[in-house]
Structures are given as C-alpha cells and as structure tokens.
C-alpha cells in the first residue's frame, strides 16, 4: 500500500511538473508563434473569428508590403551603423579608462571613479530633453553623431572591466614593465587577451541592448535619414484605415529575427553574459 502511494505521488508530481512546464512554454512561446503566424496570414485571415491557427499557403507578399511601406534596408543600415559605432567608441573609451582605474593611484582618481559610478544610475530617459536641445543647437538632430556619441562610453562597462583588470596579478604587469613595455602595450598585449571573456560579454550585451533600442533613436530623429529599424517598424502601425496587423507582424518578424537567430545559436553564451552583468 505504502509503495503504491509513493509511486502514485511520484507520478502525480511528474504530471504536475509537466503541466507547469507546458504552461511556461505556452506563455512564452505562443506570443512569438502568433507573431510569426500573423506575419504570413492574409488580411482576411487575421480578422477571422475563431482565429486561424495554421496557414497552409503563406502570404510572403506581406514582407514585400513592409519594404514598400518603409525604407527597410536604409533603416537596417542605420541600425548597423549606430550599433557598431557605439561598440567601437566604447572599445576605445572603456578599455583605457578601466585600466587606469584598476592600475593607477592618481590624484582625483577616486573622485573620477565615483563620478563614473554615479552616472551609471542615470538613464537616457532622464537626460533626453536637455540632450535634444543641445544637439538641436549644434544642428546634429538626424545625424549619426546624436545617436552614437551619448553612448560612446559606458560607466557600467568601465566598472565591470576594472574588476577584471584588478584580478590580473601585479607581478605579471611588473614583469612586462621590466621588459620596458609601454602602458599601451601592456593593455593591448597583456590585459586584453586576459580580459577577453569580459570584453566579449560586454560586447554582446551592448550589441543586443542598442540594436533593440527604441527610445533614443525615437526622440533624436525627426525624419527617416538616420532612423533605425525599431523606430521604423512603428510607422507600420499608423497606416490609414486601421492597423494592418499582418504587415505589422511581418515587419516585427524582420526586426526580431536577427536577434532571435543569434540567441538560438549562442543561447548559453548570451544568458551567461546577462547573468554576469547582474551578478556583480
């Protein structure tokens, strides 16, 4: 009797777990599935009740409608330019700063590091208004400069990289110094290879967050010249005569596809990267 009760309980537990697993899967997968399905439906199919759960003949022309409605490829290019621009700038501002904060004791160093940490808490949503006015005075609205320069450095990345640099044994640096290596040589020949995992992690996170960013390109652009994809997609939402959800979802799919593809292949790496960012 007891044995049967135990077996029953184990089976019940497994069934419960399976049900919860299924629920989690449904909650987080169905919305994406629905996006994909809507993207290949015809207008009529999107408006049918009960909804159509499977489409036998995909309406790929929805994607062409996206390309007709917005300058998709120029916006894609803008997205690439902005994201890469930010990453390249950060590479050159973050690494030396992190190295200096990790290795040197210099007058005002503590203050400057404190300043860096304090700015970490200030989001774009707080400074967009004065920055917009600043850029507009300089005539830099609708320019790559206004999209890239405010993010040319990252206090958070400086902080993370400084922690990594601090873990490099002092003797290693002293040995390099004895070989009369310059500080820059030490950074590029010694520190960077050691800190590579951190830098890759930071790069990955910077890429994803900036690729997806909507707020900044939205407030800093007034026309399509340098507008990025996340902002561009939103104009599919305001088509005359009601929202055409099949076209909107097709555009949406094009927006998320690259990130989802990267995520599919580098799942572990990406999750680890974000864990690393929050764990410290």
């Amino acid at each position: 009797m007891r044995a049967r009760a135990v077996i029953f309980r184990a089976a019940f537990g497994r069934a419960c777990r399976a049900a919860v697993n299924l629920l989690i899967f449904a909650v987080f997968f169905i919305p994406f599935y629905w996006m994909f399905l809507t993207a290949i439906k015809s207008l009529g199919q999107t408006l049918r009740t009960p909804p159509v759960f499977w489409v036998s003949a995909a309406h790929w022309e929805n994607f062409r409608k996206v390309f007709d409605a917005i300058p998709f490829f120029s916006m894609l290019k803008n997205n690439v330019v902005m994201t890469l621009g930010i990453m390249i700038c950060q590479f050159f501002t973050v690494i030396p700063a992190a190295y200096a904060f990790a290795r040197f004791k210099f007058a005002g160093g503590g203050f400057l590091f404190g300043l860096t940490l304090a700015t970490m808490m200030i989001p774009a949503q707080l400074v967009f208004l004065p920055l917009f006015l600043m850029f507009s005075r300089m005539g830099l609205i609708n320019s790559y400069a206004s999209l890239i320069l405010p993010w040319a450095t990252s206090p958070f990345a400086i902080f993370m990289l400084r922690q990594t640099f601090k873990q490099v044994p002092r003797e290693l640096i002293e040995a390099a110094k004895l070989d009369s290596a310059s500080e820059w040589k030490i950074i590029f020949k010694l520190m960077l290879p050691i800190a590579r995992p951190t830098i890759v992690t930071l790069g990955l996170v910077t890429f994803i967050l900036n690729w997806n960013d909507y707020f900044w390109p939205f407030v800093l652009t007034t026309n399509n010249a340098v507008r990025t994809l996340p902002v561009g997609i939103t104009s599919l939402n305001t088509v005359d005569g009601g929202v055409r959800y099949h076209v909107l979802m097709a555009g949406n799919l094009l927006l998320v596809a690259p990130v989802l593809a990267v995520f599919f292949f580098a799942r572990k790496q990406i999750i680890k990267a974000f864990t690393y960012m929050g764990g410290k």
């Binding site: 697993n21 909804p51 300043l115 700015t119 707080l126 208004l129 920055l131 996340p230 909107l248």
Partner: protein
Amino acid sequence: MRDIEKVIDEYITLAIPMPRMAAAEKFLRGTARAATPYIMVAPAILTLCVFVVYPIMYMIWLSAFRWDMIGPKIYVGLGNFIELFSNPDFYLVIGNTFKFMSLSVSISIILALFLAVYLKANTRVNALLQSFIFTPYITSMVSVAFIWAWLMNSEYGLLNFMLGKAGVGGVRWLEDAGAAMYSMILVAVWKGLGYNVIILISAMRAIPRQLYEAAVLDNTKPFRTFFRITLPMISPTLFFLTLMNIIAAFKVFDQIALMTGGGPINATNTLVFDIYQFGFKFYQLGYASAQGVVLMALIAVCTAAYFGALSKRVHYGGEA
C-alpha cells in the same frame, strides 16, 4: 651587435656628461608617466561630462524658466515646481508611475523567485524553459509591444478569444481605463521576467551545497529551507535586482508610447511619457525639466536608500 652598441652608448654617456639634459629628460618622462592615467580616463570622463553631467545641470537650470523653445526664456524661479505640485494631473501621473512600478516589480520578483526555485536544477528541460522565459528580454520592446497589442486587440485578439472559450467575457485590455494599466504591467512583467529568473537561478546555484545537505539531515521542510537558507543567501542579489527593477520601471516609456499613448484618459500616463509630452508636444520645456528633476530625485532617493540599507546590512552582518 647590441652589446657593442650598448657599450658605446655607455661610453658616450660617461664621456660627455650632460646633467642638465638628463634632468630635463627625467622630468619630462615623469610628467608623461603622471599624465598617463589622466590621458587614459579622459575620453570616458569627457563623454560622461558632456552627455550626462552637463545635461543634468542644464535640466536643473532650465527648470527655473518658462520656455517654449522659440521665444525668450523667462525666469520663474520655483514657479514650475509650484505649478507642478498644484496640478492634479501631476499627482495622477506620479500615482500611475508608482502603481506601475510597485506592481510590476513585486509581481516580477515574486514570480521570478518561484520560477528560479522551480528551474534551478541543472537539467536540459530547465535550460530550455529558461531560454524561453528569457527570449522576450532580448527582444526589442517595439516587437513585444506590438505582439501584445495584437494579442490584446479587443475584437480580433487571441486573448479575448481564449477568454471567450473559457466562458469569460472579453476584456478591453487597452481601451478600458480600469484595465489598461494592468495590461501595461502584464507586458512589462512578461518582458522582464527572464532576466530576474536567470539572475536568481545563478545566485541560488552559488549557495554552498552543504547548507542544503544539513537541512535534509535535519528533516527540514522545503518551505522552511527556502525561507531559512535560500532567501537569506540570495538576499544581496535580490536586493540589487529589486533596485535595478525599480529604476527600470521608473523610466518606462516605450510600451506606453506604442500601446496606449498614455491613455485612455491618462490612465497609463507615467512620468517619462509625461515629460516627453510636455517637452516635445506642448513645448513647455521648463515645466518638463521640472518633472525631470522630480524623476531624478526619485531615482536618487531609491539609490541612496539601497546603499544606505546595504551599508547597514554589511555592518550587522559583520557583528553576527
């Protein structure tokens, strides 16, 4: 060859002593060495000063003026703040912001705690589910907002269809003033949950196994184990995560702008969206700046409270 050169070099140095030159060179080299760290931090610090520190100062300064972007700036002192705090709409916006913040953060953290406990065992199924929960986090808010706007469409949306199947009447998710804020919270939780889950799982996995083994030996109930071992051990992470969530909630904009536009009748109008409205739609830049100062104060208070509590905890922790 090298050695010979060295010898010659030394010979020359010895033969023709140039004390003045040497001193100058030493001085220069010393200066260069002293300047190195400053040169290294300069690009980052300058960027931060120009694009963070200066704008903040500018915003604070601007909050003392009335300005429509075209005409002259009129000094009003604290006038904008007086106007702000006597405007019932502002209290509505602050109320909305706090409602959104408190509900989305608490729901997200509590759900994440459950899911982290549920998924912390290192199995393939758990890893897969983690990935699914995490996917919205790396998806652009633009996509998430539109996907949910479509799911929440009151006529053709999937949610209302499923509610109908379940025998419940449809909800006007985004058009009903009573429901819209909860819809916003739902979307925010759905998008941000994965981040909280993976951080909490990694914190839970870092707890020494021996603690749990001791609990098993003592025949401790799982419930008790969670509150006596897991929760205290992950509390620093939980604490930090809550602060991050709070700040993220304060700056909510994208989903409001894309899904409800602050409506219906201001029901989802939150602080950043209101700043945007006053700055870019009504061109009341001084007033918008004053709201920005309020937002800054909110973030500063939360951050200060966090670090204050942190230092206290560390202190007590040291005594225990």
